[in-house]
Symmetry: C2
């Protein structure tokens, strides 16, 4: 039998019990020790890369069998500097836009041979830095960042593969985003066409800074509405809160503060909160209050009444992010941003 004649050279070590959760499973170091060779020799023999004398190779293989050594993907990745893993950073996973985006990205990346890690950054820890460290340490091959934190420097210090969704790193990191200015114009046109006189323009406080691209939709809406003589009032939401309880509270407070407003432009869950809170206050929608959501995820279409929306095409955003990221991993120098088209969807709230 193959390897039998080398048994005498294999030192006997006490057998380790294999059980669930046993972290003392045989490592390549154990195999090298048992076979009486160095770590590098054992690694070459078991990965099949590099020269090892046939007799030594068989001794190492025998040791691996004796120890029930499982070939370690890390060992191979160590030599290749490749993990096959992409990290996706989003502010929240239970926000309808980001859960849909993550689902699409996971599927698109899987088709390209990559596994997906996710991280929700809204809890306010050091998650972003952690993942950038993982990128530096080859634990992930690339990062797609869709978070709105302000720590730009950490990203800019990295010389690896990062692609941004909607976050402007001043041209240093490629960005994919929807055509936000067109979205703002489109919403303004519909408010004007329907005769609105006072529109609430509400968005995340982080997007008031220039580097969060979605803010451009809201800035453009304001410009277009005011040019047409429509009054615009503005409010801002916290960047670390994404639950419906918070959105309902915000919508209720705005409805009390601006009793004469007749239009509101907000992200999906907040637009939905205005719908429910408006109804609870007996506000007739769309007659007395017109609502346009920006995201236009499936959820806003399935409810009754259907929310009128400017739609970001999440499938196309995901495809662009995946394409740019994977090409950069392969060494292509892609610097330009990619802008995806937005669409109008007529619902029952405008």
């Amino acid at each position: 039998m193959i390897g039998t004649s080398y048994d005498s050279k294999v030192k006997e070590l006490p057998m380790k019990r294999q059980r669930v959760g046993d972290r003392d499973m045989a490592s390549i170091k154990d195999v090298a020790n048992l076979a009486g060779v160095g770590l590098g020799t054992a690694s070459r023999a078991l990965s099949g890369k590099g020269y090892v004398a046939p007799e030594t190779k068989r001794r190492i293989e025998e040791a691996a069998r004796k120890l029930s050594y499982t070939p370690n993907v890390f060992a191979q990745n160590l030599l290749k500097n490749k993990s096959g893993i992409i990290a996706i950073l989003v502010p929240a996973m239970d926000h309808c836009f980001f859960s849909r985006l993550v689902q699409e990205l996971e599927s698109d990346l899987y088709k390209k041979g990559y596994k997906t890690m996710v991280c929700c950054t809204s809890s306010g820890g050091h998650e972003e830095e952690d993942y950038l460290d993982m990128l530096e340490n080859n634990l992930v091959d690339g990062i797609i960042t869709a978070t709105h934190s302000f720590n730009d420097e950490a990203y800019l210090g990295s010389n690896r593969v990062v692609v941004s969704f909607d976050r402007d790193f001043g041209g240093h990191i490629p960005m994919v985003r929807s055509d936000h200015k067109a979205a703002g114009r489109m919403a303004a046109e519909h408010f004007i066409k329907k005769g609105c006189r006072k529109v609430l323009n509400i968005y995340g406080e982080d997007a008031t800074e220039g580097h969060i691209s979605v803010g451009n939709a809201h800035r453009e809406l304001k410009v277009c509405l005011e040019a047409a003589g429509v009054q615009v009032v503005e409010e801002y939401t916290r960047q670390d809160r994404f639950n419906m309880g918070y959105y309902s509270q915000v919508a209720g407070a705005c409805l009390e503060k601006y009793r004469d407003m007749d239009g509101v432009f907000a992200s999906d869950p907040l637009a939905e909160a205005f719908l429910w809170e408006g109804k609870r206050r007996g506000k007739r929608i769309p007659q007395k209050l017109k609502i346009i959501s920006y995201d236009g995820t499936e959820r806003t279409e399935s409810i009754s009444p259907r929310i009128s929306a400017v739609v970001q095409q999440i499938d196309k955003i995901s495809a662009c992010l995946t394409d740019i990221l994977t090409r950069r991993i392969q060494g292509e120098e892609i610097g330009e941003d990619k802008i995806t088209e937005i669409l109008w969807r007529q619902g029952e709230t405008c």
Copy 2:
């Protein structure tokens, strides 16, 4: 300066250009080559584990500096057989229950020092097997599976750390689940109290088999309602469809088929679809149709009318899954299942 006197021993290799996406970055092998030592010696020197002669160590560190070598986490994990990564398998990410569960798990695991990978298994590829392979190969330290696929054998063949949400592996893998039987009884009580005569009991076709635990809620509902003389009709949804378009279609078809039904028990998004489709057909809710959802995620509470629900406590489910998984990774043999309490939330639909 430290290391300067050893410069002469460092062989000159052509400098590699460092750029974004460059996969030819220096590996530990390059460092070992440049320093003229073996891979094992370089690994020991750079990880600080195991003896290396001081002079050799300085030569290796100098080589690492010259090559801009980034310490490789894989190298450390290779020695420890530990990745610090947990994989979570869910049927879909844009289903309100699972997106919330993933968000909680990611946060709980992060606090315990683990990063999270996610995989949506509803697309029907070989994802589950891929992740089990990763577990075998030490690329992930454990798996939390919340998928409903039928390939039990693959899991049972694994000797590593798997914890199940709601999927019964016949006692071979610990399972966390809500108290589904109590949930079914609770829903039945409310339908009976409100005088329902014909209730639609609708759930995933996969849960009709015994190994998907949530099916017990629906089986118990049927038993309790029939014992009270209430007629029960049953329908099943596809296990690979989770979008609202599909749920709306199913709800519409059921409302046409059972025009005299006065109650429906369904998962959150489907219960919501019954609400909207019922309203579109002029059905008065709750007078003519009582709806109870099972999951009771925040979303069903924020809409108007609020959906009456039996609530699964996702935060507690996540805490249990995280606790069992991390203790198993540390070698504890935890075999028993964990059952979390359910709650009733009175809404406006029952």
